[in-house]
């Protein structure tokens, strides 16, 4: 049997090789055949999850409820000290100085990254912005979100903080951060489906040890992390509760 591993489509493109290297490490560690299947979009990945075509996933927190409650997934590990934070950005020339200056009919450029969009919408609530008053302009990449701001097509843009900081300094010089989230608890994590759970302990031990070998450190750095920590069942439940409070 070949197990299927996948990664939330919001990982930075520069880490694609890192995930293939990680997958090879995974096969050697578990002594199982594991195929890495990457999806172009969240909706494609959802379809794969729904049809039980995923055994392991580096999951966006917004997908945790579906994975755990409907598909029987459990958490195994998550990157240590690595939270998703959102930034709301305007063009540097924009007259807007604070969220409260925005009108409820704001035009928002965003990607399909669900947790960032949830955090972004919450940060716009003080301006009476709701999903029904705002116009959303979905773009394939954060670079295109930046372009929509610079071209004047959107009033604000939602970015993953890390993605914003990775834009070139030329692009960033034409933009301005209006507000940055400091939420600290919205985090991606590795989760295992029913066919993979027998390996949880072996995998957890190996992941926790990863930063103690040269090879392991190399793999981690290609993923953009320093170390893994355990993603306990209570952590997963708390994350699901938290996302639940944020999506209404």
């Amino acid at each position: 049997m070949t197990l299927i591993n996948t990664v939330s489509p919001d990982f930075p493109p520069t880490h694609i090789a890192g995930w293939f290297i990680f997958n090879t490490w995974l096969q050697n560690t578990l002594n199982e055949r594991v195929r890495l299947e990457l999806h172009d979009s969240f909706s494609q990945q959802q379809d794969a999850i729904q049809s039980d075509g995923v055994d392991m996933i580096y999951a966006n927190p917004a997908d945790a409820a579906l994975l755990v409650r409907e598909k029987g997934f459990v958490g195994v590990a998550r990157p240590a000290n690595h939270a998703d934070e959102a930034v709301i950005v305007v063009a540097d020339s924009s007259p807007v100085q604070a969220v409260e200056d925005l009108s409820p009919e704001v035009r928002i450029a965003l990607t399909a990254q669900p947790d960032v969009n949830t955090m972004g919408m919450i940060m716009l609530e003080p301006a009476d912005v709701t999903p029904s008053t705002a116009t959303k302009l979905e773009r394939d990449t954060y670079v295109l979100v930046a372009k929509a701001l610079m071209d004047g097509d959107a009033d604000v843009g939602f970015f993953l903080k890390d993605a914003y900081e990775n834009l070139s300094s030329i692009v960033r010089s034409k933009l301005r951060v209006l507000v940055t989230s400091d939420i600290q608890v919205v985090r991606h994590g590795l989760m295992l489906g029913p066919r993979m759970q027998q390996h949880r302990q072996v995998l957890l031990d190996a992941l926790l040890n990863m930063n103690s070998t040269e090879n392991g450190k190399e793999i981690l750095s290609n993923l953009g992390f320093d170390a893994w920590e355990e993603f306990r069942s209570e952590d997963v439940e708390f994350m699901i509760d938290l996302m639940e409070t944020l999506t209404t």
Partner: protein, 158 residues
């Protein structure tokens, strides 16, 4: 329940002395300063309670905005933040909603240890583990000014 009163040493500036009566009939004397502390942008104020509403966990934003120390908060009743301006019916509605296993959302004016106040949009949910409610979690965020004004006009304009 017993919650320590707010004393003159805790506050600065002009204050008014008020008495709060909780749902169980117990009372607390608080000193109220008519000054709002703005909700910090980008933050969430998070706490988790047991079934009786005693705080078991809270994040740093919760501690910072309350003006209490973490030691004073952990184990304290969540109503340590109750402001005398908010009518009891709001909390009664909150508790009946969450006890029935549902999500409650509403605007709350909270009282700080220093007598000042802050407004939040609070979402409270039962934390269900293995099919049973084991406690409650609350996540507060920055509210819309317009919504607060509407709430004040509707509920606090006595």
């Amino acid at each position: 329940m017993v919650i320590k009163d707010i004393t003159a040493a805790d506050v600065s500036g002009d204050y008014e002395t008020r008495e709060i009566t909780f749902h169980d009939g117990s009372t607390r004397t608080v000193l109220v300063v008519d000054e709002e502390v703005p909700y910090p942008d980008g933050r969430l104020i998070v706490s988790v309670t047991d079934l009786e509403g005693r705080i078991t966990e809270c994040n740093k934003s919760f501690v910072d905005m309350s003006a209490y120390s973490r030691e004073e908060l952990i184990g304290a009743q969540q109503c340590i933040l109750r402001h005398p301006d908010i009518p009891s019916e709001i909390y009664a509605d909150l508790w009946s909603t969450i006890k029935a296993g549902n999500k409650w959302q509403g605007y709350i004016k909270n009282l700080r240890k220093d007598g000042r106040y802050y407004w939040v949009l609070a979402t409270i949910i039962p934390t269900v583990r293995d099919g049973e409610i084991v406690g409650y979690a609350s996540v507060r965020r920055k509210p819309s000014r317009k919504k607060i004004e509407e709430f004040v006009a509707q509920h606090l304009s006595a």
